[in-house]
Amino acid sequence: MAELAQIDVAHVAKLARLDLTKEETKLFQAQLGRVLEYAEKLREPDTSYVEAAAHAVPIFNIFREDEPRAGFTAEEALSNAPRQANGLFIVTKVVE
């Protein structure tokens, strides 16, 4: 059982694109270790013939007409942007 509770917080933080301080990493390591230990409970009930429920209400295939609708203007879409220029979002460089 114990092997699953070994979370590597520093590694998961990289996957989540979330920098953590050393203190946070250490604290979360201990706290989430306890939470995952608690989650070991989930192994107790027999779920061998049980389907997973991804949603509370099983509804499928909701369609609507594919019609053009009014959207935001460029100005509106940019109104919350932390950095913008020439009607565009400024992103951090991704290619050298």
Binding site: V12, L20, S79
Partner: protein, 495 residues
């Protein structure tokens, strides 16, 4: 009735005065403004208030509409066009919503006036509102205690008479638990009953918006306004909305109430247990039949809930990348530094914990062990409720195992905080509806009274029935008539 008394009214009472032209919507707003100026410094329920905008809405409103001229406070996770929508997070501190959520559009359509945004746990993650990155909200019954959470600002505002009613959101108890701890009524609608369009998503398969009000009738009136299909939310059910006030006043003779034996755990505060037992006896005296039922997978609900909710949250919060909106780190060295620092600086500790936990349970190698298993357990929990509702019309339990706890008591131990949701989580996993209403008080050493909440859970889309049952209880008890004994010093200072 003087202007000073107006804020004490519930929505139904206020509406009568508005329709009789005893007061105008503008006078109502002015009275509310004074009340907020008087008590908000003690409670801190609001993150932003726009009275100028509210007064403009008041000029146009028609008091003959279903909620005409009624000001409603809105949890700061629900988009109101032109207003801040910060989720009490630094990452959204300068964000303004560009459009109305469907629930806001529907409220406006019946004349209600959204006027202010209420404090909450950051991104609705928490049970005390202490995870707000902005400020603490205090419980009007005892300002050294939490109002509950995550919709703590909405609950505290209604309890303190600084709102006639409010909207909150409930992902694992975030409407019902603060309603219980603050002594007001709160409804979590069935999943899909109310549109989620325009809510900032936390856990998309669990989130629902609903009312926090002073009375059951008020909750039914707000439900009438906000429920119903929405082409902009494909998970919103295409089912007609009954008039939720129609059955209020019908008696509960012959109604079958289920008492889940798994909910009678150790760790329930003795005064909460006593209040709950009295409520059960009271229902019995009203003619309801009390039936013992079993929800055998109850003990797995919290673990299932936190795996699923965190997994969904980690995916939903991936959108906060500091490009299109929200906080952005200064002078990033490269794109990874940009994302990593933007999110480090923008999110608070609980949000970070849940992103890490959610990312972990969705990651290769652990997905089956945690996430997939949690979803299977979710199926078992759903079946438990389906079986119970074959035998009973509603389930009855405490809303929270404890009354309002002191600020700081649980904030350092996430697992303890998660366990506070024990009676509320499962309803979200199963998609059923629930209501919390006042059912007594717990008295602490210094004589202070803390409200206790009674929870009724109903089958999916059975909101009408739990409102009817709740109303029968409320109207034959006096709990809802008691108001918090708030100090008046600030008002003297200001006058």
């Amino acid at each position: 009735m003087t202007a000073l008394d107006l804020p004490r009214l519930n929505i139904a009472e206020l509406q009568t005065l508005l329709r009789q032209r005893e007061v105008s919507p503008r006078e109502v707003l002015e009275a509310l403004r004074s009340r907020i100026a008087e008590v908000e410094p003690q409670i801190d329920a609001y993150l932003s208030i726009d009275f100028d905008d509210a007064l403009k809405q008041a000029e146009r409103t028609d008091v003959n509409l279903a909620l005409g001229g009624v000001p409603i406070a809105i949890k700061d996770i629900i988009s109101v066009a032109g207003q801040p929508c910060t989720c009490a997070s630094k990452i959204l501190q300068d964000y303004r919503a560009l459009y109305d959520a469907t629930v806001i559009r529907k409220l406006r359509a019946v004349g209600a006036i959204p006027f202010g945004k209420t404090n909450m746990d950051e991104f609705a993650m928490g049970s005390s509102t202490e995870n707000s990155s902005v400020k603490l909200t205090r419980n009007p019954w005892d300002v050294s205690r939490v109002p509950g959470g995550s919709s703590g600002g909405s609950a505290a505002a209604v309890a303190a008479d600084t709102a006639f009613g409010a909207l909150g959101t409930d992902t694992g108890g975030s409407i019902r638990q603060p309603a219980a701890l603050s002594g007001v009524v709160g409804v979590k609608p069935s999943y899909g009953r109310v549109s989620r369009f325009g809510l900032v998503a936390f856990a998309s398969s669990l989130d629902q918006a609903g009312p926090l009000t002073k009375t059951v009738r008020d909750a039914a009136m707000v439900m009438n306004a906000i429920a119903g299909p929405d082409a902009q939310d494909s998970t919103c059910l295409n089912e007609a909305v009954p008039d939720y006030t129609a059955d209020l006043g019908r008696d509960v003779r012959g109604i079958r109430l289920g008492l889940p034996k798994e909910y009678m755990i150790e760790g329930i505060d003795p005064q909460v247990r006593a209040a709950m037992e009295k409520a059960v006896a009271h229902f019995n005296s009203l003619g309801a039949e009390i039936i013992d039922v079993s929800l055998p997978h109850t003990e797995y609900a919290i673990a299932s809930y936190y795996m699923i909710a965190s997994a969904e949250a980690s995916a939903n919060l991936a959108r906060f990348d500091g490009v299109r909106y929200g906080h952005r780190a200064e002078n990033p060295r490269n794109v990874f530094d940009h994302y990593g620092r933007t999110r480090e600086e923008g999110f608070g500790p609980e949000v970070k914990r849940r992103i890490i936990l959610g990312t972990y349970v969705l990651s290769s190698g652990y997905y089956e062990a945690y996430y997939a298993r949690a979803q299977k357990v979710r199926t078992l929990i759903r079946r438990d409720f389906a079986e119970a509702f074959q035998k009973v019309d509603a389930l009855i339990s405490p809303t929270s195992p404890v009354p309002a706890f002191p600020l700081g008591e649980k904030s350092s131990d996430p697992l303890q905080m998660y366990l506070a949701d024990i009676f509320t989580n499962a309803a979200n996993l199963a998609g059923i509806c629930g209501i919390s209403l006042p059912c007594g008080f717990a008295r602490i050493e210094n004589g202070t009274q803390l409200p206790v909440g009674l929870q009724l859970l109903g089958n999916a889309l059975d909101e009408g029935r739990i409102l009817q049952i709740a109303y029968a209880y409320e109207q034959s008890t006096d709990w809802h008539k008691q108001r918090p004994p708030m100090k008046r010093e600030t008002s003297n200072a200001r006058l």
